[in-house]
Homo-oligomer: 193 residues x 2
């Protein structure tokens, strides 16, 4: 097991309904030393790619993306889930369905911040059915930019998202892939990588 | 002018209605080198305080808080603006009115992540009327923890929030305090600190 799998095995909690709670270190309370190790690991896995921007989505992707960005030396753009009066002018829009919140959202990115010359690394905390990720890919494609890679903290390997994204030919790296979880025993099975 | 004031003067845009757009480097696209300098500066301004946790609020506080946390060597907790099915059990709740979105939100933090032994630095991107900040202070107080300080990127000095929070005796440090803005000329006047 790598450092993230070990941490999930130690502190992650499996709940009924295929819910994996990692809110003690990943997406409510955030362990910044862990995020720093994740950033280092993403930098290794996407070495040599001409990445000049990281794209993520609010809220829980932002912390991971910002700490990773220190290792890449690039700015971060985060997609917003609802229209703010402070965003004006032209925006890219994608529809995103949330597994956690059981609702559909529009996510938007100002056209000022992604363009055809951008080589984008997409980062998010979770990959399950892949809806959020498809929205982010759609936004980069609308902008005429290049998706250089996708870095995920925790992939639920038993849901379709990862399979679908890899089939589309994207370079997807998930630091931990959960292939099975058992809420009755708390056991988490990780995919060998 | 310090580094943040210089950046706001260069890239900030003043709009009618006392709106200061800093979305190119602070709260939509995020300049991580700038965030790193802000984290260093917060560490200087709160030197000697026994801070063991940073508390912020989604979404645009998270990036600043996470990069600052590297300098403090502490975890970050972010308050969430709506109830997620992944948050369960006991939570601290505060009412927060948003200037930007013109609506009221409940913000919540799981009781697991702030307690009476916590010495908390609150970090956020903007301080205007102070509603978000009051919510975060309320949550630390509900937990029986100690607010060791409050670090803000941009304070609108012509709104009441900063005055109110300082009157309450909190150690509030704003890296840039805007005392006046003129949408017709674009001129921004910073308070001497």
């Amino acid at each position: 097991m790598n450092f993230l799998e070990e941490r999930i095995a130690k502190d992650g909690i499996v709940k009924e309904g295929n819910v994996l709670k990692v809110d003690g270190f990943l997406n409510h309370q955030m362990d910044i030393e862990l995020f720093n190790s994740m950033g280092e690991e993403f930098k290794k896995r996407f070495a040599g790619k001409p990445i000049n921007k990281i794209l993520t989505i609010e809220a829980s992707g932002i912390g991971i993306a910002c700490v990773a960005a220190i290792h890449f030396g690039v700015p971060v753009v985060f997609a917003k889930k609802s229209k703010s009066i402070n965003i004006e002018g032209d925006v890219y829009i994608a529809e995103v369905e949330s597994f956690t919140h059981k609702c559909k959202n529009q996510v938007i990115v100002s056209k000022k911040f992604i363009g055809k010359d951008d080589h984008v690394l997409i980062i998010d905390d979770f990959l399950a059915n892949g809806c959020a990720l498809q929205g982010l890919i759609s936004i980069v494609n609308q902008a005429g930019g290049t998706v250089e890679g996708i870095g995920i903290a925790v992939e639920k390997g038993f849901q379709v998202g990862g399979h679908l994204i890899r089939n589309l030919g994207y370079h997807l790296e998930s630091l931990a892939i959960v292939d099975a979880m058992d809420a009755s025993t708390g056991k988490i099975t990780f995919r060998e990588q």
